[in-house]
Symmetry: C2
Subunit: 155 residues, 2 copies
């Protein structure tokens, strides 16, 4: 059945970030709708943000295009140019290799949500704009280091 039974798709919470950054992801949850529907070439994830929650730490991708549409609430795009308010139906595109780091923040007093699509590639490097961290992904495993490749401090 192509229609996805969203109410039965599990919510993922928590973070894959190193411990010193993981707590910043409180209030974020995600349903992996594309996976639930059996597609694999891109992710299609419904991300829910409680008030004050972030979609991710601000970042950009070397190889993977990203696209999102707001489906609920009032959110804010934060990128190198500043803050841009987003409402239901607003869309954003983030071309691979564009070093304009971005994330979505819920500065409202109600939940917000968006559907985000990102290409899946065999390997990927992502760069974090506001902290000394990058991520390298290969074989489904993510490795976070400082930008020079040294370990992220645990403290």
């Amino acid at each position: 059945m192509p229609k996805i039974d969203i109410s039965n798709v599990p919510f993922k919470t928590g973070s894959s970030y190193p411990e010193k950054y993981a707590a910043q992801m409180e209030g974020r949850s995600q349903q992996s709708l594309g996976d639930a529907g059996g597609i694999s070439q891109f992710g299609a994830n419904l991300v829910r943000l409680a008030p004050n929650a972030l979609s991710s730490l601000r970042h950009w991708h070397e190889q993977q295009d990203e696209f999102l549409i707001v489906t609920e609430g009032h959110l804010v795009l934060v990128d190198d140019t500043g803050e841009t308010p987003l409402s239901v139906g607003d869309c954003c595109a983030f071309p691979a290799g564009d070093g304009n780091g971005h994330h979505i923040v819920n500065k409202s007093e109600s939940d917000g949500a968006f559907l985000v699509v990102g290409t899946r590639t065999a390997t990927e490097t992502g760069w974090y704009s506001d902290i000394d961290m990058k991520v390298e992904a290969a074989d489904g495993k993510m490795t976070f280091t400082r930008k020079d490749g040294s370990p992220v401090d645990a403290s």
Copy 2:
């Protein structure tokens, strides 16, 4: 600017289908939001359907995953299993190579719309479920033939 100025993205109407089928696409228009936002690895198109309009002739893709979310109105998914009503927020996934031909139909009396994402591949073959037609795409050019490769009749 990652936020897409949807009001300034042109609407495409008409059809690339052979003449004998093209008229069935009346009432459908599309805004290519992903292209407008500078991404290229997948298409992200906002499709608007007037009452009685079809998203496409019923089809499936050999190589390209597809995913959609309804953004306006009440639409109907038609696939091999029959008809499934869709409302705002409902999502569907169509895995590459799954021969369950599908399209979206507006059987309501108001406009409807959905955002559809599809992977872009260098070549592709699509098969039409209800008529004797296939499409082969390469180098950005689409070639429609009967399923045995012979020309689609003009009449």
